[in-house]
């Protein structure tokens, strides 16, 4: 991180606390995204035929559940200033392990444990290279992105491993009676509460923010950086495994390319939700709104007869616009506080 950026930070922080409470809560990136989400929902509800029915939510939630799950640990990792590009490959590998174990007649319980252990191991591999060897997470997880997917492809090749027990599938996929909400969302809500509590209300969470803001300062104030990061990558592997198992159950088949490409959807949603890629800034409610925003825009556009092309353009533009707007506002603020002040060089990746 550049010195000039660090030098700006106290200025901003003082201003934040100088504002009244309601402003601090309402006028944030997170609230802007939530507002946009509500707006999109209302507009689509009124103007897009077919969107108003309960089917919209009933269809959307199972399709975004995997992204929602992985977005939780991803948020924490990005807040520390690291990144995990291997999540979708971990999910795919865990799904394949789940399928193989289940097929081998070990029983669903054992298969679950095996798949979760695979996820933990994958996360530990990332964590080892990043915290023990000291390599940049971007490079490591590009490597493990290829490695974990390659292992999944190598293990099953062209085989289709499917036919999971119906009870297991319905346990995850059935809707809560009287609502359009599938059971997996219950698990997500529980996990989201845990993650939110840890990140926003515990010393450990403040440590995570501290690492992202300035890892040296964090180290001197007693945050165990390596251990924290290692744990976060292990948790990321574990939750990715849960998402991978869910995905295999949902499609009722473990294929080598299950969830391929999901990492980009997750990261796009996390950044759209207001988490800074430099670390040190972000909140989980924004991230969840980001996932849902991309999901609702997608279903509204599809219902309006537009296909995948327009949806990916909108996703891309939303992402770029949201970060450019944030950066622009920060620049305006700095300009107002430091008259004629010019911000320093662009930061690192």
């Amino acid at each position: 991180m550049s010195d000039t950026i660090l030098a700006d930070k106290p200025v901003r922080t003082y201003r934040d606390y100088g504002r009244p409470l309601w402003r601090r809560i309402l006028l944030t990136h997170e609230m802007a995204i939530i507002g946009l989400l509500v707006l999109v929902y209302i507009v689509a509800y009124v103007s897009v035929p077919g969107f108003a029915g309960p089917l919209t939510i009933q269809y959307l939630l199972p399709n975004v559940a995997a992204v929602l799950l992985i977005a939780l640990p991803m948020t924490l990792i990005i807040v520390t200033g690291e990144i995990d590009l291997s999540v979708a490959s971990t999910a795919g590998l865990a799904g394949v392990a789940f399928g193989i174990a289940n097929n081998a007649g070990l029983g669903v319980g054992v298969a679950l444990v095996v798949a979760l252990l695979v996820g933990v191991a994958a996360g530990a591999v990332n964590g080892f290279f990043i915290t023990v060897v000291g390599l940049p997470s971007l490079a490591v997880t590009i490597g493990t992105l290829a490695l974990f997917r390659g292992l999944a492809v190598g293990l099953v090749g062209t085989d289709r491993i499917g036919d999971f027990p119906a009870e297991m599938r319905s346990l995850v996929l059935d809707r809560i009676p009287g609502t359009p909400i599938p059971n997996i969302i219950v698990l997500f809500v529980v996990l989201a509460l845990v993650f939110a509590l840890v990140l926003h209300f515990t010393p450990a969470g403040r440590g995570i923010f501290a690492i992202g803001l300035s890892s040296e300062a964090a180290r001197f104030s007693g945050v165990r950086i390596e251990r924290t990061k290692f744990l976060l990558f292990v948790v990321s592997g574990l939750v990715s495994a849960v998402a991978g198992i869910y995905y295999a159950l949902k499609t009722n088949v473990s294929l080598a390319d299950n969830t391929a490409g999901l990492e980009l959807s997750v990261i796009a949603a996390v950044l759209l939700g207001g988490v800074s890629i430099f670390g040190g800034r972000g909140a989980l409610h924004g991230v969840i709104a980001g996932v849902l925003l991309i999901g609702f825009v997608g279903s509204a556009l599809r219902l309006a007869g537009l296909t995948s092309d327009v949806i990916s353009i909108v996703t891309g533009v939303l992402l770029v616009a949201s970060v450019v707007a944030t950066s622009f506002l920060a620049w305006l603020r700095v300009k107002r506080v430091v008259p004629g002040g010019k911000k320093g060089s662009p930061g690192p990746v």
């Binding site: 550049s2 010195d3 000039t4 950026i5 990144i83 290279f129 060897v133 000291g134 390599l135 940049p136 971007l138 490079a139 490591v140 590009i142 490597g143 493990t144 992105l145 290829a146 490695l147 974990f148 997917r149 390659g150 292992l151 492809v153 190598g154 090749g157 080598a256 980009l264 990261i267 796009a268 950044l271 890629i277 430099f278 296909t307 995948s308 092309d309 327009v310 949806i311 990916s312 353009i313 909108v314 996703t315 891309g316 533009v317 939303l318 992402l319 770029v320 970060v323 450019v324 950066s327 622009f328 620049w331 911000k343 320093g344 060089s345 662009p346 930061g347 690192p348 990746v349």
Partner: protein
């Protein structure tokens, strides 16, 4: 030490030499298993030809990574440019065919300019911006192409021949790629602007305070990267003869992977385009070699992943060794001064 020996020592200890050695070993083993991998007309041609386009994209990617940025949109830029090439042949048949190169390069440069402007002026991290444009450019491509596809019959045979034929056994594409590589390598090594890219990547703030034109140089790096991806798109059309809306998807990871394998540090400031180029060759040659040596097709991805991890671990070890040596040298000097 005599200068020849000195140069030799530098070559042997260079980071790129290790990767080159790995490449030679891979080719050697594969050729021993099946001599046709190297010693047949098509074998030799494909060995050179297959990685040529990725080489161009990887060189552009390396330049951007050296400035401590990354361009994830190269695959989408390549796809758009490839389709544009086909459209130009269909819609402007009177244009002499070499003009498509200019159009492709300019078009790619323009898209690179957009990326660069968003990164350099809006001060937004390149990872986020180019992730966004990765989606957006691909979406535009699908929107524009629809179910259409460019077929070989839509393009002049001279142009297509460029994609597959060779001059004295060396494919035209490879010659072109090497020319670009040499120019980029020379520029980065000897020119002031090239050296400044390293300075910016090593420490953006220091470069800024020192008075380097950080914004301008960053912008230029993205334009060059886009232009090379654009050129790659034109060559893609020539090599493969058909272009649909998915041309080049997934190339971003190959390009970044090639640069990283070739020793370009992901956080900028070190590495060479030579390394990235050898990385591109190693990456694609390994993929082609595995089935020949009897490793099933399916394990390719795992090997590539292990290779990337191995390369960055190696880099880390080399960096630690260099740091230790510098510390030793420093300590010795201090001792000499005090004694």
């Amino acid at each position: 030490m005599n200068p020849v020996l000195q140069r030799l020592t530098r070559f042997v200890t260079a980071r790129e030499t290790g990767i080159l050695l790995a490449l030679v070993i891979v080719v050697a083993i594969t050729t021993i298993v099946n001599p046709r991998f190297l010693f047949s007309g098509d074998g030799f041609r494909d060995l050179l030809l297959t990685p040529s386009i990725l080489l161009l994209v990887a060189v552009g990617q390396a330049i951007v990574i050296i400035t401590r940025n990354v361009d994830l949109s190269v695959g989408s830029v390549l796809g758009l440019s490839a389709y544009l090439t086909g459209r130009v042949f269909i819609d402007l048949p009177w244009l002499p065919w070499p003009a498509v190169f200019l159009i492709g390069i300019l078009f790619g440069g323009l898209l690179g300019l957009l990326n660069g402007a968003l990164v350099a002026f809006a001060k937004v991290p390149s990872l986020v911006i180019t992730l966004g444009t990765l989606y957006a450019f691909r979406g535009i491509n699908v929107l524009w192409t629809g179910s259409d596809r460019i077929n070989a019959s839509d393009m002049p045979t001279d142009f297509l021949a460029l994609g597959t034929s060779a001059l004295a056994g060396i494919p035209y594409l490879t010659i072109l790629a090497i020319v670009v590589l040499v120019i980029a390598g020379w520029f980065l090594r000897t020119q002031r602007a090239g050296r400044e890219l390293y300075a910016i990547g090593s420490d953006p703030s220091a470069a800024h305070l020192y008075g380097l034109k950080v914004t301008q140089r960053t912008l230029a790096a993205f334009v060059v990267c886009g232009a090379l991806a654009g050129l790659g798109g034109v060559l893609y059309a020539a090599r493969y003869g058909t272009v649909n809306s998915q041309a080049g998807s997934g190339w971003e990871l190959d390009a970044v992977g090639a640069a990283v394998i070739g020793g370009v540090a992901i956080f900028g400031g070190s590495g060479t385009v030579w390394g990235a180029a050898i990385g591109a060759y190693l990456l694609l040659t390994i993929s082609r070699a595995l089935p020949v040596v009897g490793v099933p097709d399916f394990w390719q991805g795992a090997v590539v992943g292990a290779l990337i991890l191995g390369a960055i671990v190696l880099d880390r070890l080399l960096a630690l060794r260099t740091a230790r040596r510098l510390r030793d040298v420093h300590a010795r000097e201090r001792k000499e001064v005090t004694s």
